[in-house]
């Protein structure tokens, strides 16, 4: 397969187009701008729609409109812009619409900074908007994986009729790596049972809606959605287990941070420390089975994040606090270094 050299942001866009994304609505923000620029250049050639909206709020609602008609639609932004989109994401989830949302994270809170961060983990996995709902959240760690995640995100969004998110960061978005595009033949999902694209006087009218004034009707709609979530939790988790079979100390990291941690794990092994890495590729659903498998022989765990510690709570829950879980993180746009992580590994007494 031909290898191309592409920025993460561009690869996300190209993958989306190849996955059958027919419209992109966005609003400029660093560090994801190349994604929208790529879409602006390429989308119309692919027979799709690119539109720069007047705000993030408008962009996500344009996605809602397009998705309502059964078309694959997407938007992208970075942390502050994702906060603005949260209203629309909640409506999309409440209306059972498929859509893909990309967050190329930067430091927060507030305007924060523009350097890489993972401090939107909670937002993505717990509460990207009001109400009871989830998004499927993918956490790629390389440009190639970004491509694969986008293809999967569109598919699963359609399959489960829910929003899916790629949680990337400024480092992944800005870096170039070799990438190849697999032959993509997106599965076609039948949307004729709900899409609002004109009934041609041949069926009942369709309604895309998230309003239920009767509590029991609203409750039922949510409970039904959560039944789907249970299936997703059973079938859609994904993680990489690296040198975990015999590890004494299990490091846990996702996305760009996992690359740093992998370097540190390799250095630790050279020093005779039995370190391993658990890298979730799906953040929701969290790979509970996988982490328990990875941690089975470990004496302790160390979560390394570009935040003050957010995923660590899911780790503790996943292993039922059965082992000590430590934390090391840098935040605000500072990227942890392999040397720093190695020092933490040494501190935890993994050394023989």
């Amino acid at each position: 397969m031909e290898r191309n050299l592409m920025k993460g942001n561009e690869a996300l866009a190209e993958a989306a187009i190849r996955a059958g994304c027919k419209c992109f609505f966005g609003y400029p923000i660093t560090p994801q701008t190349e994604l929208a620029a790529y879409m602006a250049k390429r989308m119309h050639k692919a027979g799709g729609v690119f539109l720069q909206a007047e705000s993030e709020v408008a962009a996500i609602n344009m996605v809602l409109g397009a998705a309502s008609t059964g078309v694959r639609a997407m938007t992208s932004s970075s942390s502050p812009g994702i906060s603005l989109k949260s209203e629309g994401v909640s409506y999309i989830a409440g209306s059972d619409l498929p859509a893909v949302i990309i967050n190329v994270e930067r430091g927060g809170p507030g305007l924060g900074g523009i350097q890489p961060s993972q401090a939107d983990y909670w937002q993505a996995t717990k509460a990207l908007g009001h109400g009871d709902f989830q998004l499927i959240v993918y956490a790629p760690a390389s440009v190639q994986e970004m491509v694969d995640c986008v293809v999967k995100a569109f598919d699963r969004a359609d399959k489960y009729r829910m929003p899916a998110m790629i949680l990337a960061d400024g480092l992944l978005g800005q870096m170039m790596e070799p990438v190849s595009f697999p032959e993509i033949n997106p599965d076609a999902y039948d949307k004729s049972g709900w899409a609002t694209n004109g009934h041609k006087n041949q069926r009942e009218h369709h309604i895309v809606n998230s309003l239920y004034l009767q509590p029991d009707a609203l409750e039922k709609s949510i409970v039904d959605r959560y039944k789907r979530y249970e299936i997703i939790k059973e079938t859609e988790t994904d993680a990489e287990l690296y040198l975990t079979e015999d590890c004494d100390i299990l490091l846990c990291a996702f996305g760009a941070t996992a690359r740093v941690v992998k370097s540190a794990v390799n250095s630790a092994r050279e020093l005779g420390i039995k370190a391993g890495l658990f890298r979730p590729k799906t953040l929701w659903p969290f790979p509970v089975k996988e982490i328990n498998e990875a941690a089975k022989n470990a004496k302790c765990l160390l979560s390394v994040e570009m935040s003050m510690g957010q995923m660590i709570e899911d780790i503790k829950l996943a292993i039922n606090c059965s082992k000590p879980v430590h934390f090391y993180g840098r935040t605000g746009g500072v990227i942890p270094t392999p040397v720093e992580v190695l020092e933490e590994i040494k501190k935890l007494g993994g050394a023989k």
Binding site: R3, L5, T30, P31, I114, Q115, S142, G170, L171, Q174, M175, M176, E177, P178, A256, R259, V260, K262, S263, N266, I335, T337, P338, V339
Partner: protein, 177 residues
Amino acid sequence: MATTEILLAGFGGQGILFAGKILAYCGLMDNKELSWLPSYGPEMRGGTCNCSVCISDEPIGSPLVLTPDLLIAMNQPSFDKFVKAVRPGGKVFFDSTLIEPNTDRTDISLFGIPSQQLADDNALKGGSNIILLGKLLKETSICSLDTMKKAIEKVVPPKKAALIPNNYKAIEIGMNS
């Protein structure tokens, strides 16, 4: 080959990212694993600018180069800041027209060439970065000349294809100085 970590640094506008891209494409041409990571944000426009390139036979871990094996420095602040970080045994390539190599390190090799002057003398406006790449090519085993020429063809945008011979010339000047 273990991973070669390269850092390129200078002012915005000196072609730091462009030179880094050529190195990245060299890795691609040779079927290596590689990563290219720019500094991004406001510093792109006139401030200091740097770019990390990793080339390896194995998957790249952290793409952020903190202790470079090879450093290309194109202004004084970049030289002063990053020369300290170069790995022992590493090599530093710098523009001696603009940089006074003030360092007491003896465990690294310094290769200063007047790349800016050479570019001006040879009517290669903005070619200082490529001349330094030529020097790096000569003093390391990063790739072959042929690979670098192919990489240049990839990186120069089609609209500016007429500039490819100038880039070849700059490489040659760097190799011979």
